[in-house]
C-alpha cells in the first residue's frame, strides 16, 4: 500500500478555512459573501431583525402602544414612515417591537425544543433496544399531529399569552428534532471510537456528552435555525387567530388581525407591512439555514 502525498492545493484550501486564517474579519466576511450570496442576505435580514428586537426601546420613533387619535389610519408619511393603524398607533414602532416578541418566541421555542430533541434523540440511539423502540413509537404518535393543530390543542388547555404560546410551539417541535438527531446518532454509535470509549470504562453520560453529542452538532444546528423560522411563523399564525400573544403586546400576527381586513381598501398599509416583516424574517432564517447546511454538511447539499 502506498501513501499518496498530500495534494498541495487541497492543503492550502483547507488552511484557508482554518481558524488561523490570516485575513481580516472583513476579508473573511467578504469571502463568505462571495461563496454564499443568498446566505449572506439571510444573515443580514436576521441581523436587522435582531438589532430591531434588542434595541427596540432606542430605535422605535414612538411607543408601540401610544394612541394618536388625531392620526388614525394615516398613510405612510415623514412623521409615520409606515403609516398608522386604526387606533392611531405608529406601525413602524409596532413592527420594531414586534420583532422582539417574534424573536423571543422563535428562539425560546427553537432552543428548548431542539435541546429536548437532542437529549431524546441521542439517548434513544445510544441506549437502543426497548427504550429506543418505545420512545420512537411515542414520537411517531406526537408526529401524527400537524404542528399548528397540536399547538392549538395546547393553547386550548393552558390558555393564550406569551409563555403559553412558547410551550404550545415547543411541544410539537421536539419529536421532529429527536427523529433527525437519532438517525445521525445511530450512525455514530457504530463508529469504533465509541466502542473504544466504552472499553475504557467511561460512563454513559461521558460517552454521550463528549463523544456522541459533538458529532451530531451539524444537523442539530441546521435544525435549530430552521426551527426559529418555523416557530416565528407558528406564533404569527396563532396570534392572528387571536389564540397567541394578546393585546397590547405588539406582535406581527396580532397586527394583521381585525384591522387589516376591515381597512383593506382604505388603509392597505396596515395589512402589508406586518406581513412583510414576518415573511422577510422567516425568509432570512431559511436562507441562513440553507447556507449553514452547505457550510457544515456538504453531503446534505441539493437535498
Amino acid at each position: 500500500m502506498t501513501i499518496a502525498a498530500p495534494d498541495p492545493t487541497a492543503v492550502s484550501a483547507i488552511l484557508e478555512e482554518l481558524p488561523g486564517d490570516r485575513r481580516s474579519t472583513f476579508g473573511r466576511a467578504l469571502g463568505f459573501a462571495r461563496r454564499q450570496p443568498l446566505g449572506s442576505f439571510g444573515i443580514v435580514l436576521v441581523a436587522i431583525m435582531g438589532v430591531a428586537g434588542l434595541g427596540a426601546d432606542w430605535i422605535a420613533p414612538y411607543s408601540p402602544t401610544a394612541n394618536d387619535f388625531a392620526a388614525m389610519t394615516e398613510a405612510p408619511s415623514w412623521a409615520h414612515w409606515l403609516g398608522t393603524d386604526q387606533f392611531g398607533r405608529d406601525l413602524l414602532s409596532r413592527i420594531i417591537f414586534g420583532a422582539r416578541t417574534a424573536l423571543i418566541v422563535g428562539f425560546s421555542a427553537a432552543i428548548v425544543s431542539s435541546f429536548a430533541g437532542l437529549v431524546l434523540g441521542v439517548g434513544s440511539a445510544y441506549f437502543g433496544g426497548r427504550i429506543d423502540l418505545y420512545l420512537q413509537r411515542l414520537l411517531d404518535i406526537v408526529m401524527a399531529f400537524p404542528l399548528i393543530i397540536l399547538a392549538l390543542a395546547v393553547v386550548a388547555i393552558f390558555g393564550t399569552g406569551l409563555h403559553n404560546v412558547i410551550v404550545a410551539i415547543t411541544i410539537p417541535l421536539i419529536p421532529r428534532c429527536a427523529r433527525i438527531v437519532r438517525s445521525s446518532a445511530l450512525a455514530i454509535r457504530e463508529v469504533p471510537y465509541v466502542d473504544a470509549a466504552r472499553a475504557c470504562g467511561f460512563g454513559h453520560s461521558r460517552i454521550i456528552l463528549r463523544h456522541m453529542v459533538p458529532n451530531v452538532m451539524a444537523p442539530f444546528l441546521i435544525l435549530l435555525t430552521a426551527f426559529v423560522g418555523q416557530a416565528i411563523l407558528a406564533e404569527a399564525s396563532l396570534s392572528y387567530l387571536g389564540l397567541g400573544v394578546q393585546e397590547p403586546t405588539p406582535a406581527w400576527g396580532l397586527m394583521l388581525q381585525g384591522g387589516a381586513e376591515e381597512y383593506a381598501s382604505t388603509a392597505p398599509w396596515i395589512a402589508i407591512f406586518p406581513g412583510l416583516a414576518i415573511a422577510l424574517t422567516v425568509f432570512g432564517f431559511s436562507l441562513f439555514g440553507d447556507a449553514l447546511r452547505d457550510a457544515l454538511d456538504p453531503k446534505l447539499r441539493d437535498r
Binding site: A144, A156, L233, Y240, A279, F283
Partner: protein
C-alpha cells in the same frame, strides 16, 4: 405486495390509539374542573348537585380507564358526544362544515400540482437560466409567506381590481353552495383560499420536483435513451419525469399536514365556515368535547393520507414492496 399492504394498514391502529390516548390525556390536563368553569361562566350561582349532574353527563364520575374506553368506543361509532358550546352533537357540527374544507383541500392540491410539476421540470431542464432563478425565488418566497397574509393580500387585490374594473368592490361569496348546484358561485368562493393554501404547497413541490429531476437527468439510462435517438419529449416524459415524481408523491403526503394547518388560518381570513374555523371557535369557546373530536379527526385524516401515500408509493416503486 399483499403482505406490505396489510402490514402498513395494521400500523394505523396503534398510531390512532396512541393519538387517542394523548388527546384524552391532554384534555384531562386542563386546570380546574370543567363543570365548575362551565357553570360559573354564566355568572349565576350553582350548587353541588348541578356540578354532579354535569359530571354524570360528561361521564367524569366514572373511573378514568372506563372514561378512556368510552372515548375510544365513541370514536369507532362516530359518536363524539355533544358540543359543550352549541349543545348539538359534535358529529352534526363537523358534518355541516366538512364539504367546504374538503373541497378547498382538494382544489389546493390540484392548484399546487398543476403549477409545481411543470415549473419544477422546466426549472431543472434549464438549470441556472433566468427561468430557473425566477422559479426558485418564487418557491423560496412561498416557504416564507404566511398563508393568512397571502390571503389578506389576495383580498386586497380582488377589492382593488374589481373597484377599477366594475366601479364597485366585489368580494367572494362566503356561504357554501355545492359545486353541482351552482358551479360558478362555488368556485368563485373556493378558488381564492385554495390558491392561498396551494402556494406554499406548490413551492415545496416545485423545489422537490426540480431537485429530483436534476438527479434523474444525470442517470445513465437517460443518456442511453438519448443515445438511441428518442425524441426529447419522450425522454423527459416517459423516462425522467416518471422516476423523478416518486419522492414528490411522498412529499404530497407529508405536506398534507401543512395543508390542514393552512386551512385553519385561511378559512379565518376568507370568513368561511369550514372545519378549520370550527376548530378555532372550539378553542376560543373552551369547548373541550368539540376540540378533542376535531383533533382526532385531523390526526385520522393525516394518518390515513400518509398510509395511502405509502401504498401508492409501493405500487409505483417495486423496490419498496419487495424489500
Amino acid at each position: 405486495m399483499y403482505r406490505y399492504v396489510v402490514q402498513r394498514i395494521l400500523l394505523v391502529v396503534p398510531t390512532l390509539l396512541g393519538a387517542a390516548a394523548l388527546v384524552f390525556l391532554l384534555m384531562r390536563l386542563i386546570p380546574g374542573d370543567i363543570c365548575v368553569t362551565r357553570l360559573g361562566s354564566g355568572g349565576g350561582t350553582f350548587d353541588e348537585r348541578a356540578v354532579a349532574a354535569c359530571h354524570a353527563e360528561l361521564g367524569l364520575d366514572r373511573p378514568v380507564f372506563l372514561q378512556f374506553l368510552d372515548f375510544v368506543w365513541g370514536l369507532f361509532r362516530f359518536d363524539f358526544g355533544t358540543s359543550m358550546w352549541s349543545g348539538k352533537p359534535v358529529s352534526y357540527e363537523i358534518a355541516a362544515r366538512f364539504p367546504i374544507s374538503l373541497e378547498i383541500a382538494i382544489l389546493a392540491t390540484v392548484v399546487a400540482i398543476v403549477i409545481a410539476i411543470p415549473l419544477g421540470t422546466i426549472s431543472a431542464l434549464k438549470q441556472n437560466s433566468a427561468v430557473d432563478v425566477v422559479v426558485r425565488t418564487v418557491a423560496i418566497a412561498g416557504l416564507a409567506t404566511p398563508s393568512f397574509w397571502l390571503g389578506i393580500l389576495i383580498i386586497l387585490l380582488i377589492l382593488n381590481v374589481s373597484q377599477a374594473a366594475f366601479g364597485s368592490p366585489w368580494m367572494p361569496p362566503i356561504d357554501y353552495v355545492p359545486l353541482w348546484k351552482d358551479p360558478v358561485r362555488n368556485l368563485s368562493m373556493a378558488i381564492w383560499p385554495a390558491i392561498t393554501v396551494g402556494y406554499r404547497y406548490a413551492a415545496v413541490t416545485m423545489r422537490m420536483t426540480r431537485s429530483t429531476m436534476l438527479e434523474v437527468l444525470r442517470e445513465d439510462y437517460i443518456r442511453t435513451a438519448r443515445a438511441k435517438g428518442l425524441i426529447e419529449r419522450i425522454v423527459i416524459n416517459r423516462h425522467a419525469l416518471k422516476n423523478a415524481l416518486l419522492p414528490v408523491v411522498t412529499l404530497i403526503g407529508i405536506e398534507s399536514a401543512f395543508l390542514i394547518g393552512g386551512l385553519v388560518v385561511t378559512e379565518q381570513v376568507f370568513n368561511l365556515n369550514g372545519i378549520g374555523r370550527l376548530f378555532v371557535q372550539a378553542v376560543q369557546n373552551q369547548d373541550y368535547t368539540l376540540t378533542q373530536a376535531l383533533v382526532m379527526l385531523v390526526v385520522a385524516v393525516f394518518v390515513f393520507t400518509n398510509t395511502f401515500v405509502d401504498l401508492v408509493y409501493a405500487w409505483l416503486d417495486p423496490r419498496i414492496r419487495f424489500a
